[in-house]
C-alpha cells in the first residue's frame, strides 16, 4: 500500500484545505511547526480509512473546526498492488463515502466495507473507530505518544499477522483441536492433582481411604492379638485347673490338716496337766510365804526393841552435852554488847569534831570573801563617778571627728582660694618718701608691704589724697565670690562646733577623744570588778555578810583550837562509824549463836523423851506377840510349808517335761500350714475357675462378631484402596507427564510460530542493540522484553527512549513482513524518535531507510532540520494549503 495524495479540509484545526501530493514510494517527511496540525492530519488519515462517514454525535462533532459547522472532508489516494484507489469521505454534514477502485466505485457503507476488506480492518458497529479494530494499519499509523506503549495489537491485527504466519510456517500450533486436547488433559490432571502436585479428588479419597483402612486394620489386629492372648490365658488356666484336679491337691491338703488337728488335741491334754501342777506349786509357795512372813514379823519386833534402846541412850547423852555449853555462849553475848556501846560513844564524839571543823572553815572562807567583795564595791563606786564626769564633758563638746574634717577641708579651700586670688590680684607696694601714712579702709598699710588688691579698694595717701584702685582682671569677681562663700561656710561650721577658729576646733576635738578613752577604760574595769553586774556584786556582798554573821553566832573560836582540818576530822568520824557497824555485827552473831544453842537444847530434850516413849512401846508389842505365839512355834510352821513346796515343784517339772517332749510349736505350725495350704489351694482353684469363666465370657463376646472375618474384610478393603490409589497415582503421574509435555511442546511451537517475525526484527534490532534479542508474547504478539547477556529484561523496565525505538523497530519489521507477504502496509510516524540521542537517531534513520525499501513511510515532524540529511523529500504542511 502506498499513499499518493492526501487532501483534507474543514477537519478540526485544518480549516483551509491541505493537500500533500505526489507522495513517493519510500520515506516522505511532512514538516509542520507545533500547532500546525500534524497530529490532526494523521487523525484525518485514520478517519478517512477507518471511520464510518455517517458517524454521529461526539465522534462527528469532534471532526468539525472549533466553533463552526462545516463539512469535514478527507480524500486519500493510494495504490494497492500497483492499482490506484481513492477513498473520499465527508463527515457531520451531508456525510458521504466513496471508494474508487480499478474494478469500480462504491458509495456509502459499501465503500467503507469494501475498504475494510481490502485493508484488513473492522468497521465499528457504532460510534467512532476503536484502535483494536483498525488492524495492522492501525498498528502502523501511530499518533504521537502512543508509540512507547508497545504494540497493543487488537484482535483484528493479530488475526492478520497470524494469518500471514500460518501461511508461512504452517499450523505448528495444531489449531483449536490441539488446544482442546491440552485443556482436556489439564482438566483430567487437575481432577487428581492440585497446582502444586498434591493429591486431590479421587486420588486423595483413595489415599485417605487406604489410610483409614490401615488404621482400622491396626485396631482390629490389636483386638485379634488380644483375643489370641486371652485364648492362651484360658488354656493356661484350664491346664492349671486340670493339674490341681489330677494331683488331688485339695484332698491331700485336707488329710494333712486332719492329722495335725489330732496331734493338737493330745498337746492340749498335756497342757492341762501342766497347768494343774503349776497351780499346786503356786499354792505351796503361798503357804511358805505366809509362814515366812510371820517368822520375819517376830524378828522385826525383837530388832525394834534393841534399836529403840540404843536410840534413847544416845539422845540422853546429847542433851547433857548441850546443857554444859550454855554458859560460854552467854559470856560471848555479853562481851559483844559492851563493845558496841563503846563504839557508839566514840562515833558520837568524832561526829561533833568534824561538824565544828567544817563550821570554822566556812566562817574563815566567808570572812575572806566578804572583804574582797567590799573592796570591789568601793572601786566600782569610784569608777561610776568618773564615768558620770566624762559623760558630762562629752555632752559639752559639740565637735566630732567628722565636723573637724569638714572645717579642715574648708580651711584648706579658703587658703587655696586666697592664693588663687593673689596670683591675679593687683599687687601694690607703697614707698612714700616721707613716710606718709597710707591707709586702706581705715587700716594702715606699712611701707614696702605688699598689698594684693582683688576688688575696688580705696587707699588714702597722706598728703596725697585718695587713690581708688580697681583691679581689672576679669576672674577676680568670681574668685572673690567663691572665697566669700567659703568663708561663709567656714563661719557656719565653726559656729556649729562652738569654736572660734580652726585651732580651737582642734583642741576641742582632742578633749573629746580623751573623754571617750576614759569612758572606755572605766567600762572595762567595771566589767572586771563586777562581771555579773554591779547589782549582783552588791547582793553577793550583802548575802555573804549575813551568812557570816549567822555562822559566827554562838561559835566560840576557843573550842576549835585543837581541831584538825575538816577532812581529817571527817575521816576520823567515818572510822568511828565503821567500828560501830563491826561491833553491831559481832553482837548479832552472838545473839544468833545463843538462839541456836537454845533450840538445840530444846530439840535434844524432846528427842530424848520421844526415844524413851518409843522404847516402852516396842517392848510392849514384843511382849504381846510372844504371848500369842512363841518364837519356836513360828520356826516349826515355816519348815513344814517349805517341805510341801519342794514336792509340788518336782511334780510340775514332770508335767512340763512331758509337754516339751510333745513339741506343741511344731504341731501348731504344722496345723497352721496345713490349714493355710488348704485355703490357698481352694482359693487358687476358685480363682482359676473364676478366671476361666470370665475369659470364656470375654472370648465369647469378642468372638461373636468374627474378628478374623472383619480383619480379612478390612485387609481386603485396604488392598483394594491401595490398588485404587496406586492406579490413580499412576494415572495422575501420566496426566502430569502428558500435560507438562504438551505445555512444553506448545511453548516451543509458539516460538517456532513467531520465528519469521522475529527473523524480520533481527536486522533492525542489530542496528540498535547488536547484542540483544527481542521477545514477543505468544498470545498477544506484543513486545515482552529483550534478552541481553542471557538476561530477560521486561519491556516496561526499559528506558522510555529504548521502548520508543523498539516499538518502532518491531512495527517496521511487521510492516516489512506483511508487505513481503502481500498484505497492505504503510507506516506513518507522528513526531517519533523524540527521545532518541544523536547516535540512536542516526541508527533509527538507518532502520527507516532499510524498511523504506519495502514499505512506504510517512514521517510527520516539527523538526525538519533533523531529517534534512536523511535524503527524503520534505513536504511543508503550511505550504500545502
Amino acid at each position: 500500500m502506498r499513499f499518493r495524495r492526501i487532501e483534507v479540509r474543514n477537519y478540526k484545526k485544518l480549516l483551509a484545505p491541505v493537500v500533500i501530493d505526489a507522495l513517493g514510494d519510500g520515506v516522505t517527511i511532512i514538516a509542520g511547526d507545533n500547532e500546525e496540525g500534524k497530529s490532526t492530519l494523521l487523525d484525518a488519515i485514520r478517519a478517512g480509512l477507518f471511520e464510518r462517514h455517517n458517524v454521529s454525535g461526539k465522534a462527528a462533532d469532534e471532526k468539525q473546526p472549533f466553533g463552526s459547522a462545516v463539512r469535514p472532508e478527507v480524500r486519500l489516494d493510494f495504490e494497492l498492488d500497483g492499482q490506484p484507489y481513492t477513498i473520499e469521505k465527508g463527515f457531520a454534514q451531508k456525510p458521504s463515502a466513496r471508494l474508487a477502485t480499478p474494478s469500480g466505485t462504491f458509495d456509502g457503507p459499501a465503500a467503507e466495507e469494501r475498504l475494510a476488506e481490502l485493508l484488513g480492518f473492522r468497521l465499528a458497529q457504532r460510534g467512532g473507530s476503536r484502535a483494536e479494530d483498525q488492524g495492522v494499519l492501525g498498528l502502523l499509523c501511530l499518533e504521537q505518544g502512543r508509540i512507547i506503549e508497545g504494540l497493543r495489537l487488537g484482535e483484528q491485527g493479530r488475526s492478520t499477522i497470524r494469518g500471514a504466519l500460518e501461511d508461512e510456517v504452517g499450523d505448528v500450533l495444531g489449531g483449536p483441536r490441539g488446544q482442546r486436547l491440552l485443556e482436556a488433559a489439564k482438566a483430567a490432571r487437575n481432577a487428581l492433582l492440585t497446582a502444586t502436585g498434591k493429591p486431590r479428588g479421587d486420588l486423595k479419597d483413595a489415599s485417605d481411604q487406604a489410610e483409614a483402612e490401615a488404621e482400622d486394620l491396626v485396631v482390629l489386629e490389636q483386638a485379634r492379638k488380644a483375643y489370641d492372648k486371652q485364648i492362651d490365658e484360658l488354656e493356661k488356666r484350664q491346664r492349671d485347673l486340670a493339674r490341681i484336679d489330677s494331683d488331688r491337691a485339695i484332698d491331700e491338703a485336707r488329710d494333712r490338716l486332719r492329722e495335725a488337728e489330732r496331734d493338737a488335741l493330745a498337746i492340749e491334754a498335756l497342757h492341762r496337766d501342766d497347768r494343774e501342777a503349776s497351780q499346786a506349786v503356786l499354792l505351796a509357795t503361798a503357804k511358805v510365804e505366809n509362814a515366812d512372813e510371820r517368822w520375819q514379823g517376830r524378828q522385826r519386833l525383837v530388832d525394834e526393841v534393841t534399836t529403840r534402846r540404843a536410840v534413847a541412850a544416845e539422845a540422853s547423852g546429847r542433851r547433857r552435852a548441850l546443857e554444859e555449853q550454855t554458859e560460854a555462849v552467854e559470856a560471848r553475848l555479853h562481851t559483844a554488847r559492851t563493845t558496841l556501846e563503846a563504839a557508839i560513844e566514840a562515833r558520837s564524839r568524832a561526829g561533833e569534831r568534824a561538824e565544828l571543823a567544817r563550821r570554822r572553815a566556812r566562817i574563815d572562807a566567808l570572812a575572806r570573801e566578804t572583804e574582797d567583795l567590799a573592796a570591789r564595791l568601793t572601786a566600782v563606786d569610784r569608777l561610776e563617778i568618773r564615768r558620770r564626769e566624762d559623760r558630762q564633758l562629752l555632752a559639752a563638746i559639740a565637735i566630732d571627728a567628722a565636723a573637724f574634717g569638714r572645717i579642715e577641708a574648708l580651711s584648706t579651700a579658703i587658703r587655696e582660694q586666697e592664693a588663687a586670688l593673689r596670683t591675679i590680684a593687683t599687687r601694690l607696694r607703697f614707698r612714700p618718701d616721707a613716710g606718709q601714712a597710707i591707709t586702706r579702709d581705715g587700716a594702715t598699710v606699712a611701707r614696702d608691704e605688699t598689698v594684693d588688691v582683688t576688688e575696688a579698694t580705696r587707699f588714702t595717701l597722706e598728703g596725697f589724697g585718695v587713690v581708688d584702685v580697681e583691679p581689672g582682671a576679669r576672674e577676680l569677681d568670681a574668685g572673690r565670690q567663691r572665697l566669700a562663700d567659703l568663708r561663709g561656710r567656714m563661719r557656719d561650721a565653726l559656729l556649729a562646733a562652738g569654736v572660734e577658729d580652726v585651732d580651737a576646733a582642734k583642741v576641742r576635738l582632742e578633749q573629746r577623744k580623751a573623754a571617750e578613752s576614759h569612758l572606755e577604760e572605766a567600762q572595762r574595769l567595771l566589767a572586771a570588778y563586777a562581771p555579773e553586774g554591779v547589782e549582783a556584786l552588791r547582793a553577793a556582798s550583802t548575802d555573804g555578810a549575813a551568812e557570816l554573821a549567822l555562822l559566827q553566832e554562838g561559835f566560840d573560836p576557843a573550842t576549835a583550837d585543837d581541831l584538825d582540818h575538816p577532812d581529817v576530822e571527817e575521816r576520823a568520824a567515818d572510822d568511828a562509824r565503821h567500828l560501830v557497824e563491826g561491833a553491831r555485827s559481832a553482837l548479832d552473831a552472838a545473839r544468833s549463836e545463843r538462839a541456836a544453842h537454845d533450840t538445840e537444847v530444846a530439840r535434844a530434850q524432846a528427842a530424848s523423851e520421844a526415844a524413851y516413849v518409843a522404847l516402852l512401846g516396842a517392848e510392849r508389842d514384843l511382849a504381846a506377840a510372844r504371848t500369842d505365839a512363841a518364837d519356836a512355834d513360828l520356826a516349826a510352821t515355816l519348815e513344814v510349808a517349805r517341805g510341801a513346796l519342794r514336792a509340788a515343784e518336782e511334780h510340775q517339772a514332770g508335767t512340763s517335761r512331758a509337754l516339751a517332749d510333745a513339741d506343741p510349736d511344731e504341731v501348731a505350725g504344722r496345723r497352721q500350714r496345713a490349714a493355710d495350704a488348704l485355703k490357698m489351694i481352694r482359693a487358687e482353684y476358685d480363682r482359676l475357675r473364676h478366671e476361666v469363666s470370665s475369659l470364656q465370657g470375654s472370648l465369647a463376646a469378642l468372638g461373636k462378631d468374627g474378628l478374623e472375618e472383619q480383619l480379612e474384610a478390612v485387609r481386603g478393603r485396604r488392598v483394594q484402596a491401595l490398588e485404587r490409589r496406586d492406579r490413580l497415582q499412576a494415572d495422575a503421574d501420566a496426566w502430569e507427564l502428558l500435560v507438562s509435555t504438551l505445555v512444553h511442546a506448545e511453548r516451543d511451537a509458539k516460538q517456532q510460530f513467531l520465528a519469521p517475525v522475529l527473523a524480520r526484527v533481527g536486522p533492525f534490532l542489530r542496528l540498535l542493540l547488536p547484542e540483544a534479542r527481542i521477545t514477543l508474547g505468544e498470545e498477544d504478539l506484543d513486545i515482552t522484553g529483550v534478552e541481553r547477556d542471557g538476561r530477560q529484561e521486561p519491556y516496561q523496565s526499559l528506558s522510555v527512549g529504548t521502548r520508543e525505538q523498539l516499538s518502532i523497530l518491531v512495527r517496521l519489521a511487521f510492516a516489512v513482513y506483511l508487505r513481503e507477504k502481500g498484505y497492505p502496509a504503510a507506516v506513518i510516524l507522528d513526531d517519533a524518535l523524540v527521545y532518541a540521542d544523536d547516535d540512536r537517531f542516526d541508527r533509527m534513520q538507518l532502520a527507516l531507510r532499510k524498511a523504506a525499501d519495502t514499505v512506504q513511510i510517512l514521517i510527520l515532524t516539527c523538526r525538519p532540520r533533523d531529517w534534512r540529511q536523511f535524503g527524503a523529500p520534505i513536504e511543508r504542511l503550511a505550504g500545502s494549503s
Binding site: 495444531g174 483441536r177 485379634r224 474378628l707 472375618e709 485387609r715 501420566a734 502428558l738
Partner: protein, 370 residues
Amino acid sequence: MPIRFLHTADLQIGKGFGSFPPEIAGRLRAARLDTLKRIAELACARRVDAVLVAGDCLDDIAVADETLRRFKVALEPFAGPWVLLPGNHDPAIAESPWTRLRRLGLADGIIVADEPRPIAIGGTAVVLPAPLRRRRDAADLTEWFDTAVSDDGLIRIGLAHGSVEGFLPDVSEAVNPVARDRAARARLAYLALGDWHGRLRVDQRTWYAGTPEPDRFKDNDPGNVLDVSIAGPDALPQVEAVRVAGLHWIQRQVEIAPGGAADVREALGPAASELERCVVRLDLQGVVDLATHTSVLEACEDLGSRVLHLAVDDAALTLEPSQDDLDSIAQRGFVGEAVAALREQLAGAEAATARRALALLYGLHQRMGG
C-alpha cells in the same frame, strides 16, 4: 461289613476373600456354604454311613457366631454322623470354633473329633482322629494310630490334617507332618487327609480329598468330594471323586498380538457357557499399539461384565505406539511434538508413565472423535 462314607476337607467356611471387591467376596463366601450343603445333600442321596471332614472346616478360630450358625445349618440335610476334625485353621484350642459350636448346641449326629480317641461308626468301622490342638505341631499326631487297639473285624479309618512327609510339592514339612506309610503301619483301611487343597492320591489307601470349593487360581483339581467304599477291614477302598464345586477359578496367560482384542474374548475357551460362575484372572502379555491396547481394555471390560469376577494383570503388556497411532493423534501442531517427546521416554526410567500418558492421550483423542 462294608462301610461307605464321603471324604472331604478344607471347607474353610468364613474365608474372607479380602482381595476381592466386597460384593464378590460375599458371593465367594456364600459359595462355600452352598457347597457344604450340596455335600450334605449328596451324603443323603448316596446314603453314606458318614461324612469325614479332614480338617479346616472353618477358616479361622475367630469366625463370627453367625458363620458358625450358617455352618451348622449347612450340615442339616445329612443327619450324620459327621466326623469333624480340627485342622490348622480351626485347631482345638481352649477357645475354638468347636467350644463355641458346643455352646451354640450341636445336633447328635455331629461328632467333633477334638480328642485322639477312637470313634465308632455304626458297628463296622472305627475312626482314629489326629486333631490339631495348635496351629502348627512338629510331632506326627497320627503316631498313636499304630498302637490304637480296635476290635478285630472293624474297619480302621485314619483321619488327619497335615503334610505327608516327602510327598507334597512346595509345602514345608516341618509342621503337622504325617508319616507316608502311616496307613500301612497302623493297619488302616483308609487314611483320610486334609490340608492340600487339590485332590491327591498318596497311595491306594491314603487320599487328600482337596477342597470341595476352589478358593484360589491353582489348577490342582479342587472342587470334589471322595465317595469311599470299603468292603472289609483288609479290603482296598473304592474311591470315586464327585464334583461338587459351585464356581470355576480360571487363570489364563493371554498373548495379545496387535489388533488382537479377540484373544481376550477367546481366552476362556469352552468355559464360556458358564461364565457367570467363573472367577477369572487374565495375565496379558505381548507388545501392542495404542489402538489395540484400547480395544483390549474394552474387551476386558466386556468380559468383566460377563463373569462373576475378572482380574486383569497387564503389567507384562508392553505399549508400543505405532505410526498410525501417532498419526491419528497428531497430524499437525504441537501435539505431534508432545507425542514424539513421550515416545522418546518409552525407553527411559519413566517408561511406564510415558506409556500410560500416551494411552491417555490416545483415549482423549478418541473421545474427541478421532
